[in-house]
């Protein structure tokens, strides 16, 4: 190998670009094969379990926009109400978006402020644990 400055076309530079791309994906492993080279990127399986990528995805915009993340504060089964929340709809403060059923008790999940429902991060009937992100509301 000749010790030159790495150009944009060199494998190391390409690997770096790929790595930068890869860390921003939710993928655990990515493998690219071309005629003369191979790249394999893998995320450490020691990364925090569960909602890491989701948490990162929803946490970032809140810095720029005025966003509320509604999280589960009990462990149970999530139930949407009769009026199922719709992505993009305007919600009033205190609007009940869903409820969590646990041990026969129903805990409401309510909008903390009026705004637009910009993400639904959960499914009707799913088991949710403490701190699980459920809805994202951009405050109006």
């Amino acid at each position: 190998m000749t010790p030159e400055h790495p150009s944009e076309d060199e494998p190391s530079a390409r690997a770096q670009r790929l790595a930068e791309f890869f860390v921003n994906t939710p993928l655990l492993r990515m493998r690219i094969e071309r005629e003369d080279e191979e790249f394999e990127l893998a995320r450490s399986s020691l990364a925090p379990v569960g909602r890491t990528s989701e948490a990162a995805a929803v946490a970032e915009p809140s810095a720029k926009r005025a966003v509320d993340i509604l999280r589960a504060d009990v462990v149970g089964i999530l139930r949407f109400g009769r009026s199922e929340p719709t992505l993009g709809e305007e919600v009033a403060e205190e609007r009940e978006l869903a409820a969590i059923e646990a041990l026969g008790i129903r805990t409401s999940v309510r909008a903390r402020s009026a705004g637009r429902l910009t993400a639904i991060l959960c499914q009707d009937g799913a088991a949710v644990d403490y701190g699980r992100a459920l809805f994202e509301i951009e405050r109006g």
Partner: protein, 449 residues
């Protein structure tokens, strides 16, 4: 057999239980606090539910979230480990109310053994030797009469007690009143239960305990004794071994016999431990722990029995399938607790992010730990990071093995008890096997002096 077990604990014991489930082909559900998201028990279990933030009352004692996690994940049983909810009779009842098998004895036995005065009375009825002493003492006057009959020195203890809280040694009659009032006030403050009772003080006793297993069909076996006399001044165990060194065969046989007798008497089921104080050839029942103990591995090593698997099998309703005659101890095992504690500073607990973590291995070394290089040690929990267990054919070989294992152990980022354990193992007292619960406090006092 049970199908799926929720493990209502954290750290090494949660991992221990998940491992037992795996080996039995049973599903496992971990719970974790937000501070434990990256912990090994979470990584290794089949499923995991966050049950609350770091502080214990909001997560590992959050009964509604724990029960709900068990139900929504389709568990049919809960294993409580040790600490947290393990000896909470009410929790065991709540499990039953929700159709969840609590892996432990029946709630009424947990309750009876949880109250030290009751436990002692029940054991005395069963013919187990207990420390001379009294029931609850309502007044200083009654305490004074009792002390005269028991004989000084005496020990005042809180009936709801633990960890030395509400406990006073009284050497002379003139100190009794002050001690009684102090113990009562401290017990009231610590446990919201100021009741105290009295016991004869056994000077320089050894702490020896007997492991029992009982199935739900009346079969009871013991798995020998452990010596847990190497304790910090706070009475927390630091080094344990099986069997107890320098114990006469007569005392040993009597301990084993009493433990089985007591379990039969109370209709005990699942794993349990009877703790005794021993002095010379005399043994006195102290308390019964109705759960798996931290130090259970030393017994597993010498008996070749997986106690946590046995707990699950028993809770599944299976008979033990063996009798006392089938059990034969082999070799000697020692456990050292590697705690995140500063032994130079009164064992002050440490928290923070760990650097390099390397555990020893090789022949006769077993490691039970949830930590790894770069792991976090949250400030909320018990400071035990790992248990290093050494097994060999003789006690002498086990000590040599433990010493080499501890010298290999590397836990960076927090102060640990590794060096303290090595110091104990190196003493003539420990090596000769002649030590009592005052051994480590005296060793520490010497160092300071």
């Amino acid at each position: 057999m049970l199908r799926k077990v929720l493990v209502a604990n954290r750290g090494e014991i949660a991992l221990r239980i998940v491992r037992a489930c795996r080996e039995l082909g049973i599903g496992s559900v971990a719970i974790f606090s937000e501070a434990d998201r990256e912990s090994t028990h979470v990584r290794v279990a089949d499923e995991a539910f966050c049950v609350g933030p770091g502080p214990v009352p909001r997560s590992y004692l959050n009964v509604p979230n724990i029960i709900s996690a068990a139900l929504v994940s389709g568990c049919d049983a809960i294993h409580p480990g040790y600490g947290f909810l393990a000896e909470n009779a009410r929790f065991a009842e709540i499990c039953a109310d929700h159709g969840l098998k609590f892996i432990g004895p029946r709630p009424e036995i947990i309750m009876a053994m949880g109250d030290k005065a009751t436990a002692k009375r029940v054991m005395a009825e069963a013919g187990v030797a207990t420390t001379p002493g009294t029931d609850i003492l309502a007044t200083v006057e009654l305490a004074r009469e009792a002390a005269e009959s028991v004989g000084y020195p005496v020990l005042l203890k809180a009936t709801a007690g633990g960890g030395g809280k509400g406990m006073r040694v009284v050497e002379r009659p003139e100190d009794l009143e002050r001690a009684f009032l102090g113990a009562t006030a401290e017990a009231e403050a610590s446990f919201k239960d100021g009741r105290v009772y009295m016991e004869k003080l056994i000077r320089d006793p050894r702490h020896i305990e007997v492991q029992v297993l009982a199935d739900e069909h009346g079969e009871v076996v013991h798995l020998g004794e452990r010596d847990c006399s190497i304790q910090k001044p706070s009475h927390q165990k630091l080094i344990e071994e099986a069997g107890a060194p320098n114990l006469s065969e007569r005392a040993r046989a009597r301990l084993h016999e009493m433990a089985v007798l007591a379990c039969r008497h109370v209709g005990y089921s699942n794993a349990g431990t009877l703790e005794f104080l021993s002095s010379g050839d005399e043994v006195f029942f102290m308390e019964m722990n109705t759960r798996i103990q931290v130090e259970h591995p030393v017994t597993e090593m010498v008996y070749g029995i997986d106690l946590v698997k046995e707990q699950i099998r028993i809770a599944s309703g299976e008979p033990l399938g063996y009798t006392q005659r089938d059990l034969e101890p082999r070799g000697h095992a020692i456990e050292c607790r590697i705690n995140a504690e500063d032994a130079r500073n009164n064992f002050a607990p440490q928290a923070g992010k760990l650097g390099a973590v390397i555990f020893p291995g090789g022949p006769g070394i077993r490691i039970d730990t949830h930590i790894f290089s770069g792991a976090s040690v949250p400030p909320y929990y018990d400071s035990m990071l790992a248990k290093v267990i050494a097994f060999a054919n003789t006690r002498e070989q086990a000590i040599a093995r433990m010493e080499r294992a501890l010298r290999e152990t590397l836990v960076e980022g927090v102060a640990t008890t590794t060096e303290m354990c090595l110091e104990v193992l190196g003493t003539e007292g420990y090596r000769s096997g002649v030590y009592d619960i005052g051994f480590l406090p005296r060793l520490l006092a010497q160092r300071v002096g």
